[in-house]
Subunit: 261 residues, 2 copies
């Protein structure tokens, strides 16, 4: 099977122009088929502040009210998505920027939760893999904004990590998928404050041990859990590491590889 | 040749939820291939006001400084474009929302003007018609936001009427193109204040006469000039009329038809 990279880029990299530029240059150099999924960065929060739209967080998760959803659609699917596409094109990497509503790409439903109303937050039901495949086969790379829809006309806000994972899972029917979580850190670290303590390889047993010894810091746990879930559902490999070192990361020269064995 | 509708929808219709809903329903019912080009509406101006970004107008044209460009990308390519796509999908009309940077769709250059610096305003050089064609042939309708790019990583603000015209012209190599300017009025009116004075048909001679008699109101002149230019460059017909009466408009039951004979 042909290789496909599904690469998530984290918010802090998007906020840093020089890091983003370096990342996009390295992304453009990948000769295999590729999909970029981007998060939001600080821009949405800043815009909400300027517009006096209060941001509610419950258990670290943002509540997406109607005004916050509009801001997310503007910032993620508009400004960030199109800026990335234009920059990729300048790097001779032809790309198309999509959100989950485009071509019915990602069908979701509004999150059901008995205790908390998360507002316009979408949990994913299905990825329209044939649509992605036909674009990729025509030689176009794809840039996905973390906005989905419910098929009834409602846009929804969806976590970019989850989108990357669901796209990777769904595309593993057609390609040998490498899922990459790239962000500001060098990989999964033994000491969250020391960039030199990258763990090069984590299998299921070692992960259990790390969690028991509380050596994996909180923010990484959902990422690694997602990574193992992706591997179980057909994704070939999951890499976690620094966005500006994308080439090294996908060549296993830096970062952490999550593996099933 | 197969028929293709290129339909521009004006800003005031976008601002009116019930008119927009009716328009999108009628758009979804068109069984021929179709492209929707949308303008911006009041939303961008309102957002600029809320964010204290002063809007400069020179000769009725907005100067697009860096902050205004960001607002345009957010509002046009983000919120409006994706909301339309999600609503079309709910009407069983699968669509993909693009700006001119996506897939290298519309290549433009920053406007050169000795007297006025319009800022980040793009004049169109080329439309990537094969990309549009391949999407249309796969059964997807296209929604285009009035944002272009210069191929060097810079997004640009471009008039939606001009985008519709350039897409129509370029696609007339592959399809029998019907260019439709739909907006809040019933068509070209003899009396701008009386919706019952629609001129059903305007040819070149009659247009000259109307202009000499100053019977065409100012705002319509660039639209009609564009219409004749489109006809000269291969577009089959140009229709101008009410967005909420789209079905009647494209069936020549309402509105104004601009014709070369």
């Amino acid at each position: 099977m042909e290789k496909l990279f599904v690469i998530k880029i984290g918010g802090q990299v998007i906020d840093d122009e020089s890091k983003l530029t370096k990342f996009l240059k390295e992304f453009s150099l990948i000769r295999d088929k590729k999909i970029l999924v981007h998060g939001g960065g600080k821009l949405a929060t800043e815009l909400a502040f300027k517009l006096n739209v209060p941001q509610q967080l419950v258990n670290g998760r943002r509540i997406t009210d109607e005004e916050t959803l509009k801001i997310a659609a503007m910032v993620y699917a508009g400004l960030i998505n199109k800026s990335i596409v234009a920059k990729l094109d300048a790097n001779q990497c032809r790309a198309v920027g999509l959100c989950g509503a485009d071509g019915g790409l990602i069908q979701a439903h509004r999150r059901v939760n008995a205790d908390i109303d998360y507002g316009f937050v979408g949990d994913i039901d299905a990825v329209h893999d044939q649509f992605l495949q036909s674009l990729l086969e025509s030689g176009i790379s794809i840039v996905v904004a973390p906005i989905t829809h419910d098929g009834k006309g409602q846009l929804l806000n969806t976590n970019a990590d989850t989108i990357a994972q669901e796209i990777a899972r769904s595309m593993s029917r057609h390609y040998e998928v490498q899922l990459v979580y790239s962000f500001e850190k060098s990989g999964v670290l033994l000491d969250a404050k020391d960039e030199l303590t990258v763990i090069p390889r984590i299998g299921p047993d070692y992960y259990l041990q790390l969690k028991e010894e509380k050596k994996v810091f909180e923010g990484m746990i959902p990422k690694i859990d997602n990574a193992f879930a992706a591997l179980r559902s057909g994704v070939s490999s999951v890499l976690i590491g620094k966005a500006e070192e994308l080439t090294d990361l996908i060549n296993n020269k830096s970062g952490t590889k999550i593996t099933n064995d």
